[in-house]
């Protein structure tokens, strides 16, 4: 087994171990979870830094027989798009495990589900086989229901059900699309039905997808995955889900799961059906543009901290959709980098909101005032997340948005203008939030609140350092992303 299979296996084995531990050993359970996610983080760092972008293509490839009769193999590998995603997942699950130390209710089941979910996420990012990708995708989506419905808050049953139903509906579309691809590859005379992603993008196989076929199945795949990427107007599960979910689940969900959707859009929809992408991109681009502005405005009207961040995620994922749909190299690279940057930033947001909610038992922005005086670390970390969100240079979000905007200006200048305006709106609501809740006269009601705990501090510091490092020196990310975006753009015939 190589790095990649261990990355998938480690959380899964940890989940099994945790199930075997007695319920009352809560601290051993936490430590096993933290250790396992720490191991995956180290492994994903190895993968990230071990990826040779000059060589490009899929690396660390592993291949195992699975269901040979149906042409299903368990093939793993990462390219320049999935390597940053693997790193992102490693960082978020490690920090998420740290943050979750305070979960007291059914600790064992909580960690087991969380780790199984993460195994699924890694499976999606690492899979080179569409069948396994879908398999892992479902593993990543379904535990979410239990995690929200059992450990959540604020209309948790409603949110959990809505989230699950919408995501499953999306995955039905995806499944139809995947089967269509599979059947279509078998339709030619010498063709063997295949789930292999590399085979599907092979020029000879690509000829098997006629234009009508692409036009019909591209939207199925794109919308199907787009639901998970909170693409407007299929986004409403996302604010509710984020609000209801417990802290670490929100982190994983907004930080990583939404990226699964965008990743699927890039890898399968745009990557395999280029003609469909050309035809449909303007529509989805419009969706993305609407989402970015509309999400920002909606965030401005919210009173609940988590809703603000939830809508801000809708807005930021709107940029990702825009970036993908520009079908330009710069835009697509920006979209992938934005997936990474937003994942880190939003994980930081949710970690901090959780830290305050657990003490204050409210997330109403208007109730807080002057927190900067007593919670300097909390406010400092939150401010960095906020500044990353409004695209401050020096933090990762800026580079990502810059590239997305440049890509948009290359293809649809007017949409680019709208997107830049959305950034100004973002600045407004982030600063309004901070000025309201953190500045102003100190409200003695909150004198009992303590600053971030050591485990939360470590988690937040990891995320902040990542944001700054990726913002100041994005070159490693971008050369990697670039090397793997280029073939996709080449197939689509987009702006290079």
């Amino acid at each position: 087994m190589g790095y990649l299979s261990w990355i998938i296996a480690a959380p899964f084995i940890a989940a099994l171990t945790i199930m075997a531990l007695p319920r009352r050993w809560a601290w051993s359970i936490r430590l096993v979870a933290a250790a396992a996610s720490g191991i995956t983080l180290v492994l994903s760092l190895f993968v990230f830094f071990g990826y040779d972008w000059r060589a490009g293509g899929f690396q660390f490839v592993e291949s195992y027989e699975w269901i040979p009769a149906l042409g299903i193999r368990l093939r793993l590998g990462v390219d320049g798009i999935s390597a940053p995603m693997v790193l992102l997942t490693g960082i978020v699950i490690f920090t998420g495990s740290l943050i979750s130390f305070k979960i007291r209710d059914r600790t064992k089941e909580y960690y087991a589900l969380l780790l199984v979910l993460v195994s699924g996420v890694f499976g999606v990012f690492e899979s080179l086989d569409v069948f396994f990708l879908f398999f892992a995708y479902e593993i990543a989506v379904l535990p979410m229901y239990l995690l929200i419905a059992v450990w959540g808050s604020t209309r948790k049953e409603y949110a959990a059900m809505k989230l699950t139903v919408m995501l499953v509906a999306g995955s039905v579309l995806v499944w139809i699309g995947i089967l269509a691809l599979y059947v279509q590859t078998g339709a030619s005379q010498a063709g063997i039905s295949s789930f292999d992603i590399e085979a599907l993008t092979n020029p000879r196989v690509q000829q098997l997808f006629p234009r009508t076929f692409q036009l019909v199945f591209f939207p199925l795949l794109f919308i199907g995955f787009g639901v998970l990427a909170a693409m407007w107007p299929f986004h409403t599960w996302s604010p509710d889900g984020h609000v209801a979910a417990p802290t670490a689940v929100s982190m994983l969900h907004a930080g990583v799961l939404m990226k699964l959707g965008a990743y699927g859009c890039i890898r399968l929809a745009v990557g395999v059906l280029p003609e469909g992408a050309q035809a449909w991109a303007p529509l989805f681009l419009a969706f993305g543009a609407v989402a970015s502005l509309y999400g920002a405005f909606s965030a401005m009207a919210q009173r609940d901290l988590k809703f603000v961040i939830g809508y801000s995620s809708v807005s930021h994922m709107g940029y990702v959709i825009i970036g993908i749909c520009t079908l330009s190299l710069v835009g697509l690279s920006g979209a992938v980098f934005q997936m990474f940057a937003h994942g880190i930033m939003t994980a930081l947001f949710f970690a901090l909101v959780g830290a305050i909610y657990d003490q204050a038992h409210t997330r109403e922005i208007g109730i807080f005032s002057g927190l900067a005086r007593t919670l300097p670390w909390f406010v400092g970390f939150f401010a960095i997340a906020g500044l990353a969100s409004l695209g401050l240079p020096g933090l990762a979000g800026f580079i990502a948005e810059l590239l997305i905007f440049l890509g948009t200006f290359q293809t649809y200048p007017l949409v680019g203008v709208l997107a830049v305006v959305a950034v100004a709106v973002t600045a407004t609501y982030i600063l309004r939030l901070m000025a309201r809740a953190f500045f102003g006269p100190f409200n003695p009601r909150w004198s009992g609140l303590h600053d971030v705990l050591p485990n939360e501090w470590v988690a937040a510091a990891i995320l902040v350092v990542t944001l700054i490092a990726a913002g100041v020196y994005p070159a490693p990310f971008l050369s990697m992303i670039d090397s793997s975006s280029a073939p996709i753009i080449e197939r689509v015939g987009g702006v290079r």
């Binding site: 009207a301 690279s333 002057g370 240079p393 800026f398 000025a435």
Partner: protein
């Protein structure tokens, strides 16, 4: 010269050192101040090295190639250092460092003023429990500004541009416990951000045309005509919007006066060398872009002209000493932008150079005054910034007084102080370009400038010691036209309230004898703090800055000694001798302004309230700053927040409840109806099976 990058890096290093290490130590306040000041002094050292290198380079080229060659070389870069930053596809994004005379000048101004202001802050911020944080952010601020002036790539410039905005946000909101300060900080950031939208789109347009953010390549492309004219014009106007936001130009000026909420050293820094200078610097830096489009230049000149006179009129009526200075800054920035817009490149930047010194000095003096007024007015509910409650400070604060006067005279443009030379250069430039409207506006503004500065001087340093009876007057504020005097302030028992006195009413003469003793009695109850000169850490920087504030202009004496115009210019140098007509007009006008202030506020021959009474509407409009804040507030409440509420409502009501929850509800309702099919009778189920099988069989048979 190769080490110019050290200047921003030193300051940024100081920031990170303070935030990560200093704050953990028990003597964090001292250590962070020490580190920050050491770093900025280091940056000043870097400037000195760079400057001497540049000078040597200049003299060297002159010696080697003769005067003619040197003239061409001087306008080029002294250093061009191009480091790859990141790359996407065929686009490379570089971190480019450029040193030319413009950046050398800015490097000097920023590091010099920043260093002195930080020294001054040791005294001003003493005892603040976030002293260390103040110095840390000041370091980051300096770092961002130094990086900005060295950037040779528009993207890099934009990076530092935003960081400057961030630091000003942090510093304006330094005393965030006051709700107003937090609001002011937010306003500054958001308003400048609106301008930045334009800047970013403009830069993106240029990028699309040239595929690069490198300034020299973009300028070359413009010069070679490789960019379509309409793009140059559009991009020029959009890029200028960034400067409008940062430099507080009309109509995005509203953040600047509110930015006074920050500690006064911050105001000094923001208003002289950093934040607002960044906008003017950008116009200077990207001048080849603007110069290529007459429309863009006209736009710039118009905005600058409007701003210059508009802000000067507001400054006439303000009572807060820092706001007077703030509007003065806006007006002077308008002056610079106007000069650049009419094509007087050197004059505009020269004014930025001289203005930085005397405006920094004015703010530091104001800070010194406020610092000493604070304990005096403490507990009276009066703002220590209010000039109406000052007065007579001349003898109590002599250093502050004299430096303030030097700076004011310089700002008013009286020969031979530095402001005279730069203002004269602008007026002469406008005239030379045939721009009559800017010229006339410039002259009128010069008059207004001299007037409001001397109004501030007389109210602050001359006349009665009005702070003595501040406590006797109830704190609620009415519209006060004229500073209270002992004669007009009633006893606490109050025959009438000066605060609510309407223009035109006077204190009844017969009351005066009764009022006086009551005043003496009520004067400053409870404590006997009196204004006093500030400690030497504050006074010394005043004296040091007073020197360049007075004489910095002497490096731009046309026809006599004008190295500034030699070094910083656009296109070929053209020698212009001092025009005696323009010079005498500007000085006479300034003297007239001073004279008017004298007869109104020192020797009250003309009563200010009489003037205000004659035009009450105009007075109110000016006092309320043309109601711009109100208009924007209305826009935010009624448009932006309404849009936000609309989006949120649509999301909940239409998309969530309509598109998402309705199908879910329909599914539930269908189940509600259909569940009665479950009768619980097994044989009925079996019967349904059979019917189904028969039907399917029939279909198969009938439609093979």
């Amino acid at each position: 010269m190769e080490y110019a990058w050290l200047a921003p890096v030193l300051c940024a290093g100081a920031f990170f050192f303070n935030v990560i290490i200093s704050r953990q130590t028990p003597w964090k306040h001292r250590l962070s101040a020490l580190v920050s000041i050491a770093a900025i002094l280091g940056a000043f050292g870097v400037f000195l090295v760079v400057f001497s290198d540049a000078l040597a380079n200049l003299l060297g080229t002159a010696a080697a190639h003769g005067a003619a060659a040197a003239v061409d070389d001087r306008s080029r870069h002294l250093l061009f250092d191009d480091e790859p930053w990141f790359q996407v596809g065929r686009y490379a994004f570089q971190a480019t460092l450029v040193v030319d005379w413009l950046s050398v000048m800015m490097l000097g101004v920023v590091s010099f003023l920043s260093a002195l202001i930080q020294v001054y802050s040791i005294g001003y911020m003493r005892g603040d429990n976030r002293f260390w944080w103040f110095f840390s952010v000041m370091s980051l601020f300096s770092a961002a500004m130094l990086g900005l002036v060295l950037a040779g790539n528009f993207l890099l410039l934009y990076v530092f541009w935003e960081l400057v905005g961030l630091c000003s946000f942090l510093l304006i909101g330094f005393w965030y416990q006051e709700r107003d300060n937090a609001e002011a900080a937010k306003k500054a950031f958001v308003t400048t951000r609106i301008g930045d939208v334009g800047l970013f789109i403009g830069l993106a347009l240029l990028f699309l045309q040239t595929g690069t953010f490198q300034m020299n390549e973009i300028f070359d492309a413009i010069a070679a005509g490789r960019i379509e004219p309409w793009v140059v014009t559009t991009a020029g106007i959009l890029v200028f919007l960034g400067a409008v936001g940062k430099s507080g130009q009309f109509p995005l000026h509203v953040w600047l006066p509110d930015a006074m909420a920050g500690p006064t050293p911050v105001s000094a820094l923001i208003h002289s060398a950093t934040m607002v200078a960044a906008g003017v610097y950008l116009v200077g830096r990207a001048f080849p872009l603007f110069a290529a489009s007459d429309v863009a230049m006209g736009f710039i000149a118009t905005i600058g002209t409007i701003t210059a006179i508009f802000a000067a009129t507001i400054a006439l009526t303000q009572r807060d000493i820092k706001k007077i200075l703030a509007y003065s800054t806006i007006s002077q920035l308008g002056y610079m932008i106007m000069a650049l817009g009419v094509g007087a490149y050197t004059a505009g930047l020269f004014h930025m150079f001289t203005h930085a010194f005397f405006k920094a000095l004015l703010f530091l003096c104001a800070g010194s005054v406020i610092h000493s007024m604070e304990p005096v007015l403490h507990g009276t509910g009066k703002s220590p910034n209010d000039v109406f409650w000052m007065g007579g400070l001349r003898r109590r604060m002599p250093v502050t007084f004299w430096t303030f006067v030097i700076a004011s005279v310089s700002l008013a443009g009286i020969f031979p102080l530095s402001g005279f030379w730069s203002k004269d250069a602008i007026l002469a430039g406008a005239l030379a370009e045939g721009a009559w409207v800017p010229f006339i506006v410039g002259v009128v503004t010069a008059f207004l400038t001299a007037f409001y500065m001397f109004r501030a001087i007389y109210l602050t340093f001359f006349g009665e010691e009005r702070w003595r009876f501040a406590a006797a007057v109830p704190p609620h504020a009415g519209l006060l036209v004229v500073a209270p005097t002992a004669a007009s302030v009633p006893a606490a028992a109050g025959a009438m309230d000066v605060q609510t006195r309407r223009p035109g009413e006077d204190v009844p003469a017969h009351l005066e004898p009764e009022v006086r003793p009551a005043l003496e009695e009520h004067a400053v109850p409870g404590h006997h703090a009196e204004p006093h000169e500030s400690p030497w850490v504050m006074a010394l920087p005043l004296v040091i800055i007073a020197i360049p504030a007075a004489i910095a202009g002497w490096i731009g004496i046309p026809g006599l000694f004008d190295p500034f115009a030699e070094a910083i210019r656009f296109g070929p140098a053209h020698e212009e001798a001092l025009s005696p007509v323009v010079a005498s007009v500007s000085v006479l006008v300034a003297l007239a302004g001073i004279g008017l202030a004298t007869v109104m506020y020192w020797r009250p021959i003309i009563r200010p309230d009489a003037i205000a009474d004659s035009v009450p509407g105009a007075y109110r409009t000016l006092y309320n700053k043309y109601y711009f804040d109100e208009a924007y507030q209305w826009l935010i409440n009624r448009v932006v927040l309404a849009l936000a509420a609309l989006a949120a409502t649509i999301d909940r009501k239409v998309i969530n409840n309509g598109i998402v929850d309705t199908p879910a509800g329909l599914t539930g309702a269908a189940g509600e109806r259909l569940r009665y099919l479950e009768t619980g009778r097994v044989y009925q189920y079996a019967f349904a099976f059979i019917v189904g099988i028969v039907l399917i069989g029939l279909i198969i048979v009938l439609f093979p």
